[in-house]
């Protein structure tokens, strides 16, 4: 078997602001952008790594999601308890400074964690937690 982890999915509630965060703040390239209005599926990823993608997707596209579930998911996204992703960089201090220079919500400055990593954290515009850890 030869399976790779290719695409992770994060929900958005406003495709343009999410796109701006991943493209302009994190510097990702946009690989595809389909749909319209709130129903947009946008694939982004770091330049030079075509096999690693994040799909920014509308959270309620599945018609099997009930009104109650839709409300709960919306509330969890707003509260910041729904989506999250772990990214990595070779130079955490520099990455943190570059990201922080934009109008973004910082959740945690670079910190040595007791479980052996050093990381920082931001919120994306949809309320997803974006943690960035340092790798050698």
């Amino acid at each position: 078997m030869d399976i790779t982890i290719h695409t992770s999915v994060l929900p958005h509630d406003d495709p343009d602001t999410s796109l701006a965060f991943y493209r302009d703040v994190l510097g990702f390239e946009v690989r595809s952008d389909v749909g319209q209005g709130k129903m947009r599926w946008i694939t982004v990823g770091p330049a030079g790594q075509p096999d690693t993608c994040i799909l920014l997707a509308p959270p309620f596209a599945d018609p099997g999601i009930t009104d109650d579930e839709r409300r709960v998911i919306s509330e969890m996204m707003a509260k910041g308890t729904y989506g999250w992703i772990l990214l990595a960089t070779r130079n955490l201090a520099e990455t943190f400074e570059k990201v922080q220079a934009h109008d973004v919500e910082v959740v945690q400055e670079p910190t040595e964690q007791p479980y052996g990593i050093r990381d920082c954290a931001f919120r994306d515009p949809a309320g997803n937690m974006v943690r960035i850890q340092e790798v050698g």
Binding site: R71, S74, E75, A78, K79, G80, E105, V106, V107, Q108, E109, Q113, P114, Y115, G116, A121, R123, G127
Partner: protein, 135 residues
Amino acid sequence: MCRPEWGRARTEARRLDDLARLRRVRDRIDREYARPLNVEALARGVHMSAGQLGRRFRQAYGGSVYAYLMARRIERAAALLWRDDLSVTEVCFAVGCSSPGTFSTCFTELVGMPPSAYRRRAATVGAGRDGHWPG
């Protein structure tokens, strides 16, 4: 012209906006736990009264603003006590607590033993800078 679903949509939008403000308070606690934060200052930051913030935060997250702040501080304190060569008092101030008594009580409640005992245990199992914290 006033369809009921518009009213519902407006109410829902307001509710989500309120929740996003609470998220900003929670994130600010995560970011600034080591500073002298209090509920009044946190509430001012999101244009709520202290009472409103307290009530809404508890409704949304199931615990008080102060409990969340202290949990962050104690979590960080446990990491510092496990790893660094700092005294309990130094750690207490490093995580933003101004009262060693309150710090100790809170630590004992959340971790299950007083900070001094926790620090001794860390030293016994040879934690130190390269050691792993059990979580």
